[in-house]
Symmetry: C2
Subunit: 360 residues, 2 copies
C-alpha cells in the first residue's frame, strides 16, 4: 500500500493497541470481555516450538532476535490471545553480571559459578541491558512490527530481584531455597549489596524493554513465597520497589506476579505494580478484597486444570471468572506457567471460553 496509507494504518493500529482489552484491563477501564493470556504461552506444549527446539537450544533461540520473535508469535497465531509476551527467560540478566548459565536437559537452569559470599557478590558486574541483553530488546522490536499489524500488545518481563538472587545463589532450582535464605540471614550486608545490584539491573532492563516497544512489563517473583512476610518486608520489598520505581519511568502498566504470596499480598502491593498476579492458592474474590480496588488482578487458574477433560477445565475456569465477578481490571491467566505436557486443544477452548463467558 502507498506510504501514507501505511502510516495511517499503523496509527490506526497503535490506537487499537492502546484500546486493547489487555491494556484497558491493566488500567481498570471497562472492556467488552475479559482479556486472557497465559504465562509461558510460547513453549514446549506447542509442536511449532518443539520443532524449532530440534534445531536450537533455548539460549540460541533467546539470543537470536528473529527466532525469539518467531516463537513469541507462535501462540498468537494459534489462539485468540489478548497479548503476546516476548520469548526470553528470567536468567540471562545473570549472565551479563558474570554468572555462567546453562540449561541442563530435564533439570532446568544451572549456574556453574553460583554466588556464595560477599566477595562473589562484589565481583558481579554492573552491566547495562543495552549491552548484555541487546538480543531481547531487538526481539521486542521485531515482535512489535508483527503485532502492530494485528493491533495486539506485547509484554516485556524480568525476574524480580529476589527470584534472580535465588537462582544466582542456589545455582539452579531448589526445593526449600535454604542456601539463598541462609545467605540473607547470615550476612545481611552482603545480601543488601546483592539486592542493590540486582534491583538496579532489573529496573533498567524493564525500562529498556518498554523503550524498545513493550506495552506492559511483568516482574516475576516466582520464589518470593518461600519467605516469611517479615523477611520479605525487610530484605526484599525495598528492592522490588526500587526496580518497579525505575521501570515506572516508562509510563506503561506493570504487572507484579508471585506464587505462594498469600501471607504477604498486601506487602506485594505496597512494593508496586498496576496489576497484581496471584496463583491458584487463593480465591480471587478474597485476593481482591485484600488488595482493594486500586489495582487490577491477573490470574489464577491452576495450570494442572488444563489436563482435565473439558468439563472439569470449564468448571474451574468458570469458578475463576465467577470469583472475579465481572469486575473491571481482571486479566485471566494461569496461576503459574503453562506446563510442557498441556494439550493444545484445551488451550484453544479455554481462551475461547473466557471470551464467550465474559462477553457483555
Amino acid at each position: 500500500m502507498p506510504v501514507n496509507d501505511k502510516a495511517e494504518a499503523l496509527t490506526h493500529n497503535s490506537l487499537l493497541v492502546e484500546n486493547s482489552r489487555f491494556l484497558r484491563a491493566c488500567r481498570r477501564q471497562a472492556i467488552d470481555c475479559t482479556p486472557v493470556w497465559l504465562m509461558r504461552q510460547a513453549g514446549r506444549y506447542m509442536k511449532e516450538y518443539r520443532q524449532l527446539r530440534e534445531c536450537y537450544t533455548i539460549l540460541e533461540i533467546i539470543k537470536t532476535p528473529e527466532l525469539a520473535s518467531e516463537v513469541t508469535m507462535q501462540p498468537i497465531n494459534a489462539f485468540d490471545l489478548d497479548a503476546a509476551i516476548i520469548f526470553a527467560d528470567i536468567l540471562p540478566p545473570l549472565e551479563g553480571m558474570g554468572l555462567e548459565l546453562d540449561f541442563v536437559k530435564g533439570e532446568g537452569p544451572a549456574i556453574h559459578n553460583p554466588v556464595r559470599s560477599a566477595a562473589d557478590i562484589e565481583r558481579l558486574h554492573e552491566t547495562s541491558p543495552e549491552e548484555s541483553l541487546w538480543f531481547t530488546l531487538e526481539a521486542i522490536k521485531l515482535a512489535r512490527a508483527e503485532l502492530d499489524t494485528r493491533g495486539l500488545p506485547l509484554i516485556g518481563f524480568s525476574g524480580a530481584p529476589f527470584t534472580l538472587a535465588a537462582y544466582a545463589v542456589e545455582g539452579g532450582g531448589s526445593r526449600n531455597h535454604a542456601v539463598v535464605k541462609s545467605l540473607m540471614m547470615t550476612d545481611p550486608a552482603a545480601w543488601h549489596r546483592l539486592m542493590e545490584k540486582l534491583s538496579n539491573l532489573v529496573g533498567q532492563y524493564l525500562l529498556a524493554q518498554a523503550k524498545a516497544g513493550a506495552h506492559a512489563l511483568q516482574i516475576f517473583d516466582s520464589w518470593v513465597g518461600q519467605l516469611s512476610p517479615d523477611d520479605y518486608r525487610q530484605f526484599v520489598m525495598p528492592y522490588t520497589r526500587h526496580a518497579i520505581d525505575i521501570a515506572r519511568g516508562a509510563g506503561v502498566p506493570i504487572i507484579h506476579f508471585g506464587t505462594d504470596t498469600n501471607g504477604m499480598l498486601e506487602l506485594l502491593r505496597e512494593a508496586g505494580g498496576d496489576v497484581i498476579g496471584v496463583d491458584w492458592r487463593i480465591d480471587l474474590r478474597e485476593a481482591w478484597t485484600r488488595l482493594g480496588d486500586g489495582v487490577a488482578i491477573q490470574g489464577n487458574l491452576d495450570p494442572v486444570a488444563l489436563f482435565a477433560p473439558w468439563d472439569g477445565l470449564r468448571t474451574r475456569a468458570q469458578y475463576v471468572l465467577d470469583q472475579a465477578d465481572g469486575r473491571v481490571g481482571h486479566i485471566f491467566n494461569l496461576g503459574h506457567g503453562i506446563l510442557p505436557e498441556t494439550p493444545v486443544e484445551n488451550v484453544k477452548r479455554l481462551v475461547e471460553f473466557v471470551h464467550e463467558y465474559t462477553a457483555v
Copy 2:
C-alpha cells in the same frame, strides 16, 4: 523401688504429663511458658541419629520398635523439649496397602508401583494398622515407658489423605504435583474411592496410636497447599475431616498441620483439629485472627532461620513469639521439618530461648 511406690510414681507422672505445658497448650489452658517441639526433631542433624544410620536404613529403624523408640528419645535427651514425637515416616501406611516403598539415597522416598488408574486404586488393600503398622504401635509403647518417667507427652502422627495420595500417585516427591492433581481432576470417581480408602486407614492408624499410648496426634497435610481452595473443599476436605473424626474417638488433642495453606486456613479449620499448624509464610497474628479463638496454633519459625547466627535466629524466634503475644494455646514449632544440616547448638539455644522469653 517397692511396687507400690513405683505405681504411685507412675500415677504422679501421668498427672505431670496431663498437666504438661504441651498438652495444656493444646487445650488452650494457661501455662508457665510457651511449650516447644520441632517437626522432625529426631533426625539427621543429630550425630546420635547419623551414627545409628551407619548401621540401619530408615525403614529398618522405623520397623524395629526398640530402635524407633531410641531415636524418638535422642532429641529429648539432648534438648529441653516439651514433647516427643514417635520416630516414623508418613509413608509406611502405603506399604500396607500394597505399594512398594523405598528410600533412595539423596532423592527421598520412591514408590515403585505408583497408583495411576481406577484399577490400581481398586487393588489397594484395606488393611488394619494393627496388622501392617504394628511396629510403630509397639515403638509408641516403648517410648511411652521412657517418657512416663520424665512426665513428658508423646505425639503420634500420620500423613493426611491428600499427602498420602500425592506420594501414592506421583511415586515420590514432586515439584508441582501435576500427576496426582490430574488424576483428581480427570477421574473424580476413582479419586473419591482412593481418598475413601486412605481416610479410613489414616483415621484408624491415628486412633490405634492413641490407644497404644500417644497423648496427642498430628495429621501432616504437607502438600495440600498445592490445591486451589475450591479443589480442597470438594476433593480433599471431606476426607481429612473423616480421618480426624475417626481419630477423635481417642479423646486426645489433634494437631492439623499443612504448608502453603494461607488461602484455605478457614477450610483446614473446618476439617478439624484442636491445634492448627501453620508454616512461616503467614504472620501468626493474622493466622490467629483468621482462625479465631476456638483453636490453638502451632508454629511457625522458618526452618532456615536455624542456619542464621544466634542474633538473627533470636530476632526471628522473638518475632514469632511477639506475634503470638502470650496468647493461651500457642505451641512454638518450626513451619516445616527441621533441615538435615541444622547446627545442633542453635537448636539447643532456640529451645532455651522460647522458655526464657515467655516465662510468666
